[in-house]
Amino acid sequence: MKIGVFVCHCGSNIEATVDTATVAAAAREFPGVVFATDTMYTCSEPGQDEIVDAIKEHNLDGIVVASCSPRMHEQTFRRTVERAGLNKYLFEMANIREHVSWIGKDREANTNKAVDLVRMASEKLMNNQPLYPKKFTINKRVLIIGGGVAGIQAALDCADGGLEVVMVEKTSTIGGKMAKLDKTFPTVDCSSCILGPRMVDVAQHPNITLYAFSEIEEINGYVGNFEIKVKKKATYVDWDACTGCGICMEKCPSKKATDTFNEEIDFTKAINIPFAQAIPKKAKIDPEFCTMLKKGKCGVCAKVCPSGCIDYEMKDEFITEKVGAIVTATGFDLFDWTVYEEYGGGRYPDVITSLQYERMLSASGPTGGHIKRPSDGKEPKDVVFIQCVGSRDKSVGRPYCTGFCCMYTAKQAILTKDHLPGSQSYVFYMDIRAAGKLYDEFTRRAMEEYDTNYIRGRVSMIYPKGDKLLVRGADTLMGTQVEVDADLVVLAVGAEASKGASKLAEKLRISYDSYGFYMEGHPKLKPVETNTAGVYLAGACQGPKDIPSSVAQGSAAAAKVLGLFSKDQLESDPQVSTVDIKRCIGCGKCIQTCPFGAIKEIDFRGMIKANVIETICQGCGICTSTCPQGAVQLQHSTDNQILSEVNALCQF
């Protein structure tokens, strides 16, 4: 093999602490290396051209680039060598930036280390083989998981683009968190007025199949050809017949059912439609509270239902859908703020969450848009808002900033004044994070026009004093402790990944961070992709997001899907396992350990042998490390390739 080595300066990113010229000079002495040089920015156009030229000039058939992480630019350089006519797998990278120049300043040690890494890369390269992808057809349908605003956006964009869309929503209506909001910042326009029509579009779009009150049971397959098992949970109401008239709900005698849509500030009926604009507008029975389902007595709903759609015998139903891509838009949930014992830990009825307050502000909410203290139903006069409850707080394991609380708190303070002109709002904040179009102006308005009293400091304690709540905090700008007698306290509770997000991630085989938020493919360059091909992210499942950002990401995910489906066939990654049929003794250990069922037993001239199904193989290599005789080899990470790296490093 004739190898060319390119050692990148990356401006001063590498050159500052690695002597790249020395690295190139050392590389020239390595076996197989016929050309080595250092370049300023190898990834730039002239840098890439240099590689192409060198391949032609020196007749190179293998390239090593020592620069940044392969997670950054491996794809870039593979395209470069392909442009020069080489197979793109006859290329290796040495990571001398993230793993060398950026983590230490010792130029001698760094240079020495960089030489080693280049040596490893070139030794591995000598064991590389040209690899060729296989083509396979794709199923141009898309699954959207989650019917919040991000999921709705993605679904409508895909459907308008001509794709068949399957949407699966956990609750009995789409709309997500946005449907619970009264108004939206910074325009203070009505949330349901702008979201409602889009929800209706989902229901009416000929390309969209909606499974509400359903969950993902199982996901199999791979990009282009996923097979999804959807669990349609029993609603005890035949939704095909239900007209959403609401008579059942009206007549239901069981009045103490948990009202999750209204954030439990009130109760609902055992049979219920979450809210008037629900999509689909269908009733469901909550079996925990239904006397009929619990004790076999009652049956009022069945009696009053004009279309006879109550079915107490209904069971969960499983449906299989085949799709080619998946968009997850599972959103967020609120942090369990009751760990804050100093705020009462949930013992004081007049300490509520921002989302509960939102339901209270909403005209369609249980109070009809009137602000009332949960304890006695009185109108509050002094309302205290506390920010960063479960945000920016390491002690409760939530060190990140939720990002949108500053804005909705300002909005709620403004709305409070609108609802109760005689009231006074106080906001305890640490910093006001209002980066966004018209955002800072909005928080200023809360102060300037609505006289909201912003107090810079955290609250240490809330306790009841008479029928008021004493809020004891700090005003760090004044440098002292302050106390506010409050009638109502609203906590700006931080966001965390929605419940069950990690479980779904396991099914999707995508990674998630320690808070349950899904990991994007690259923090900057692949914000909606995941590390699993064909699975995309939209909205707050990837990290807390406000409505505009969620919608933008929904559209971005849709664009990704449309882009993926613009081809009729996909290429499979050739970095998969292959079986050397001569060496295989048919012991089946690889079959036993493959997590994907990608290896099957075949009969080869009367002998049992293993065989890898390339499109199913994900390239983990468990089979390779399991096979005692090394008959299964993961391409591009073969035993010989790894051994050559070990041997390059450890030369006795």
Partner: protein
Amino acid sequence: MKVININSSYDSDFVREVEEESGQKLNLCYQCGKCTAGCPYTDEYDISVSQIMRLTQAGQKEKVLQSNSLWLCATCESCTSRCPNEIDVALIMDVLRHMARREGYTGTGRVKTFWDSFLSSVEKNGRVFEVGLLVNYISHTGRFWTDVDLGPKVLPKGKIHFKPTEMQGKKEVAKIFMRFNEESAK
């Protein structure tokens, strides 16, 4: 108000010393004020605890060590318990107090005198002898009316003894103090 030059007034040795002795990282503090918000002694402080944290972070040794607040902290742990960054603020107050003591600061004096009286009682008797402690404190401060009013109420209860309880190991305890004084003198 005095203008502070950040470059010249930052005492890095002081910052390092506080961090070493407390095992806490001062830069974790982001000045949310929750310690001050919960501190029962803020009323008495000349500098609030969050500002003590900031001044320490900023290396303003003089200003911190001369603060009366150090002597009024009762280590009630409200600050430590509630700090979102899990800084042991009460421990930092303790460490600052040690440093203030070493540098000869006493605040307004009465609290320190009381603590000293307490310890000398322990040094002498192995245990605290309450009456002795009070007498010692009074003789140092001249505040001879301290708690006299309680006399008629408490005396009949038989709680107050005019002799220390005897213990055998009091010499051992005294030795601990002796060695401590020797070690500190080193």
